[in-house]
């Protein structure tokens, strides 16, 4: 199991230092000496987007392929070769967010926009009133992921790591004993996310899987024993049968009902580029808008506001101001026609990686529609309290 890093700049070098058994490919021969100091790292001088070189390095046993050069074209060509040789995990740095579409078309699931994320981060630091109201807060600091099965590591856990790396949050996973702990730790390390894994007995995990809401909220109660109070739970999307839907037998929905913090149902497993916030005249829209701006700010994403009815003008103004402060491009869409149908249309449009909605319907957006979106939307869904 090896990692291949293209680009021996600062980011590449720091990453290689954290990941022994890595091969680092750098075009500038002057850097050879500096890079050779890294223990357990093989240094190759050459063009990382050259197929011949990469085949010589050998991509067959590569676990993760990370392209970190500052040139989008090189990163694209390198990622395309890695994709061709079926490397299981490809992470790419994209300088120009407008380039992201071609990377997505290529099928690269993990795309980072460091320029925008760093710009937003620096913006936060130098803005007057740092730490006070004027600052755009990170949406979450402590993310909890219940590992329901080994698939969760590839799904909800992966998405949690992306969100945490963008929001500079830590992740706690509650898991059954047989989970591939090493793999989880390795992935968290790759993205620089502090990770804690709490192993629970198989019996307890079965109760958790079956009844996330058991006697209140068992998953929250368990982490409370470790003095851990998460501000977001990221959970796998749940496959429901017709009968389960008819009788509302959804574990995720019950968790959303009993948890006092936002719950994110993971379906995207990558960074977010376009986020949809569904707003109506209810009070919950304030939280929806606020979280949406914060997540968009952290991920460097665009925020689309779907305004279903006459929302308080002040709220939209406030969100716009927040967007301006946080360097978030805000696109408003005022709905004409039936609000619920328009909400479905937009959520299902595949234009968004994340939809932010209230956890229950108190305005024109109805609770049964919220349930449907949580269960069946094609994108990830963040329900906020």
């Amino acid at each position: 199991m090896r990692n291949v890093i293209i680009g021996g700049g600062r980011a590449g070098r720091d990453l290689a230092a954290q990941l022994p058994e890595s091969v680092i490919i750098e075009i500038n021969s002057e850097k050879r000496e500096e890079l050779s100091e890294l223990a357990g790292v093989e240094v190759i001088i050459g063009d990382g987007s050259n197929e011949e070189l990469l085949t010589r390095v050998g991509l067959e046993d590569v676990e993760t392929f990370i392209s970190l050069t500052s040139n989008d074209d090189i990163n694209y060509r390198a990622a395309a070769i890695a994709k061709k040789y079926k490397v299981p995990k490809i992470i790419v740095r994209v300088e120009n967010p407008e380039d992201s579409e071609r990377f997505q078309k290529l099928g690269v699931e993990s795309i980072m926009f460091p320029t925008k994320i760093v710009a937003n981060l620096i913006g936060d630091m130098i803005r007057p009133g740092f730490g006070a109201r004027a600052k755009i807060r990170t949406p979450f600091e402590k993310i909890l992921v219940p590992i329901m099965s080994s698939d969760t590591v590839e799904n909800a856990f992966k998405e949690a790591l992306f969100v945490a790396s963008a929001a500079r949050a830590e992740v706690t996973a509650v898991s059954f004993p047989g989970v591939d702990r090493r793999k989880m730790e390795f992935e968290a390390m790759e993205l620089g996310v502090p990770l804690r894994i709490l192993i629970e007995e198989e019996k307890m995990m079965n109760i958790i899987k079956k009844h996330l809401h058991y006697r209140g909220c068992i998953i929250l109660d368990i982490v409370k024993e470790h003095l851990y109070y998460p501000d977001c739970i990221i959970i796998d999307h749940e496959e429901l049968g017709i009968l389960d839907k008819l009788f509302n037998r959804s574990v995720v929905l019950k968790l959303i009902k009993c948890a006092s913090c936002p719950v994110l149902v993971a379906r995207t497993f990558s960074y977010y580029k376009n986020i949809l916030a569904v707003l109506d005249s209810s009070k919950a829209s304030e939280s929806v808008g606020m979280y949406a701006v914060q997540v968009a700010h952290s991920c460097g994403a665009d925020l689309h506001l779907l305004i279903l009815e006459n929302v308080l003008g002040e709220l939209i103004e406030e969100l716009k101001k927040g967007g301006e402060k946080g360097n978030v491009r805000i696109i408003e869409k005022w709905v004409e026609g039936n609000p619920n149908i328009e909400a479905v249309k937009e959520v299902k449009s595949s234009n968004y990686e994340l939809a932010v909605i209230p956890w229950r319907g108190t305005g024109v957006i109805r609770s049964d529609l919220i349930r449907k979106i949580v269960n069946d939307a094609p994108c990830s869904v963040l329900t906020v309290v």
């Binding site: 004409e336 319907g361 024109v364």
Partner: protein, 386 residues
Amino acid sequence: MLMTLIMNPYILLLAIAVFAFIIPILSGRIGVPAVVGEIICGILLGLLGFSPEAEGRIIIDFLASFGLIYLMFLVGLEIDFSKVELHGAKLFIFGTFIFIITLGISIFLTTKLGFGLYLALVLSTSAVGLTVPTIREVGLLKSDFGQTILISAFIADFATVVLVTVFTLHFKEGATWGMFLITLVFILFFIAYYVGKLAIWHYPERLSAWFKSDQPSEMGVRAAFALLLIFVALAEIADIKAIAILGAFLAGVMLSLLFRGGTVLEQKLYGIGYGFLIPIFFISVGMQFDLGALARGGIYLVPMLLVLAFVVKIVPSLLFLIRHSLNDSISAGVLLSSRLSLIIAMAAVGLELGLVDTAMESAIIVLALITSISCPTIFRRMHQRK
């Protein structure tokens, strides 16, 4: 010559249309609901001998009968189940308790007084259409108190329509056949609701156009009428009026459940109803209002009905004392005592099925006229004083 003119259905329609136009302006000035004005206008027309015959009668009767069905459809459309869901089981149970006590007292009193069960059901109705604007007017729409009254009114109206259908079917068709039909209607309702939900999720693009104001084919209105008429046609095939009433009501409830918030379509449907069909029903109710029957005995029923109407609503409303003041509890009972469209519709159905006589029907109409004017006014006064 004059009689020939009067008998012409278009002249009759013209007369009704002109009155339907003038009445809301006049009733707005006097401060009474337009429905009250329409019934009084109908009574005056009846007194003037403006009674359609033959061809005219058939047309007016048909339009009035369709107006009644459409009215039930709009009553269903007014019921907002998201409110029940939003406020959880507690308010729903509270509202159901209030209705059960109302029904219990109604049955006890009407039986003691020697009237049938049908009157007990009729007296258990409320008037969602009056309750919502009154509560909104005094600024209580978003309060816990206001929502409890609303949910109680929703439950009363919904349960009464279902119970009246069960009762009339049982009365007319026998228990087994009646229950079978009701169950069938509810199964149809749930299937249509489920299919509607799936359609919204799977075909939002197509459905979206139905609710836009610039839709030239008015697909939303056409779909709503088709939905309404499925139930009505089924009822006609089975030759059971009560099923048509319940079906139209459930069609309205379904539209409300599936598409609430789509103001454009709702406004169009309200426009067709309150702009044309429903005034014909109420004017026709007024024209057929039997003043003779009222004078012969109905007038003596009015005070008794009034007392019953208030008692069966105010006594259960004392349950409000658990969380609210005595003034609030009584005021809730008073507002729930107001009756209008639904009770008149129920009286019309009862008369057609022979469950109430003309004297009782006239008395019920007078009761509706009095309570629809007085109850919201008393409620407003009780809250303004605070």
